[in-house]
Symmetry: D2
Subunit: 166 residues, 4 copies
């Protein structure tokens, strides 16, 4: 019987969510490095993986017309470019939880050949709001807030202050 | 003889560059609106169009190994979503010019049915650096700086202060 | 009063729909040319523009739960690459119309500096089906079929046989 | 010491390469399912992963100006859509090897909740050519051909005939 590979999944490590991606042709542009907008796609994959690990079913919520998370604002700094075939670690932290939104901090780091954390490539601070299908802000489902609070409270966030540094 | 349509081009209007895009299927996601990262692609198209209007040949510079513009930091706020088939105006201003970088302010507005400027969808402030192929900051080509300064000085930037508001 | 630019629109020229796009950074990859999957995005933009010119409102149909067009099969040949800043003409023809689907032929040609039709870059043959929200094939709305038939019958398709050549 | 997650990697299973992806927001469109062009991105990720497993260094080849693989033609059939959060298995086979090109067959299958192979979503047949930086066909590096032939010969391809069925 064949054991099939599974899509890469992340892991919750205290108050951090860790997720890895690899840079493919589709991610690069003419200048030979990853196109700047594609880090936002990588960060979104990591947030979706975090929701999955917290047993939050985004698709069921969209299909039931309950609402969806949407980025309300985002600030990102680009320090070093990722290149084709780089392994990149996405580190996600939730730095603030409110009724209808949360603030998150995400970094992309190059994984070294040995699989360890390497240089920081980009760093972002985002506010994510929960919105009804009509686009209006809506309180997050109670179970979702509780799930997030477990993540938030399980450890102190790292000392960096994303609001000021980004 | 057939006259062929040409790709949409923008226009320099005093100190503003105006460029229009339409939201297609490829731009949307499951939630029915434009995926958040795709505004960055629209903003990049507008900046590339501005360079073209200023007779700056990005492709020749990349191919000659002179360097390329790269986003150094970016802050974006999402106010209202764009939907399929929306016509969207991208307004670009250059708010600061330095030897190796410039700061730009970009907004996406929905064009009304009558083709007039409508609601603001997103607003961004960016710093764009010129970088050598090895990733190091490099002074912009003199002719490029001069071209940009024409754009910058031709009119006062609008009163908004993107650094504080975004 | 400022006249705003509008997004590029195509034009129906007999039995052909003509639409133009430009290659931007977002379209390219590491190899310096347009990423192969992005021609499919360009072709989709052209088909959406054709629907718009035929007064077919895709978004209203999706939002009303009536259904949407979906690609059922596609064959594409890549002859020459598009490069950054190339102006590219997308030529679309409808070669067959059925109750729940149609067959289309699309080509991407480089526009010359003089704005004339140049080399063929890629050529595709596609079958597009109309599908209900549950994914089942559905008859196209009558008004849509009638609109398409106008397009189909207004002139003989070009002599190429996409089914055999692609 | 923290053990970091790694990007998902595929596996060579006889004459098949197996690779898994997950459908994220970025992959979907307005119609609620994965946008048709994005299967081409998934297939490219799988081919790149296969090259990596065969110790073929695409990035070094591009950077050294030796050349790169490019899709010469592609035919894809869409049977069923992938939806947000679906786990999708990409099965890749090399069905023909020539000096400057190879023919590949790729399928996307939904992985069931139990992680087993499920319904076929899409199926494609592609010819991939090796091209010099000037776009001309070039013989594949000898070591690359040899690596591929190991993959090709290690087992009989499946009985399907992609050329006729796609």
């Amino acid at each position: 019987m064949t054991i099939f590979p599974q899509p890469s999944g992340g892991r919750i490590d205290g108050a951090r969510h860790l997720f890895a991606v690899r840079a493919y042709y589709e991610d690069t542009d003419l200048s030979g490095v990853v196109y700047h907008a594609n880090y936002l796609r990588w960060f979104e994959r990591a947030r979706s993986d975090l929701l999955r690990l917290l047993d939050i079913d985004q698709r069921a919520a969209v299909e039931a017309g309950e609402g969806a998370y949407a980025v309300a604002d985002l600030a990102i700094r680009y320090f070093r470019p990722a290149r084709l075939d780089d392994n990149v670690l996405i580190v996600t932290q939730c730095t603030q939880m409110r009724a209808a939104s949360c603030r998150m901090h995400q970094r992309a780091l190059r994984l070294t050949g040995a699989g360890a954390e390497g240089e920081v490539l980009t760093e972002a601070s985002l506010r994510i709001g929960f919105v009804a299908p009509d686009g209006q802000p809506r309180r997050q489902p109670k179970a979702w807030r509780e799930a997030f609070e477990t993540f938030l409270s399980s450890d102190a966030p790292e000392s960096e202050s994303p609001e000021s540094s980004v």
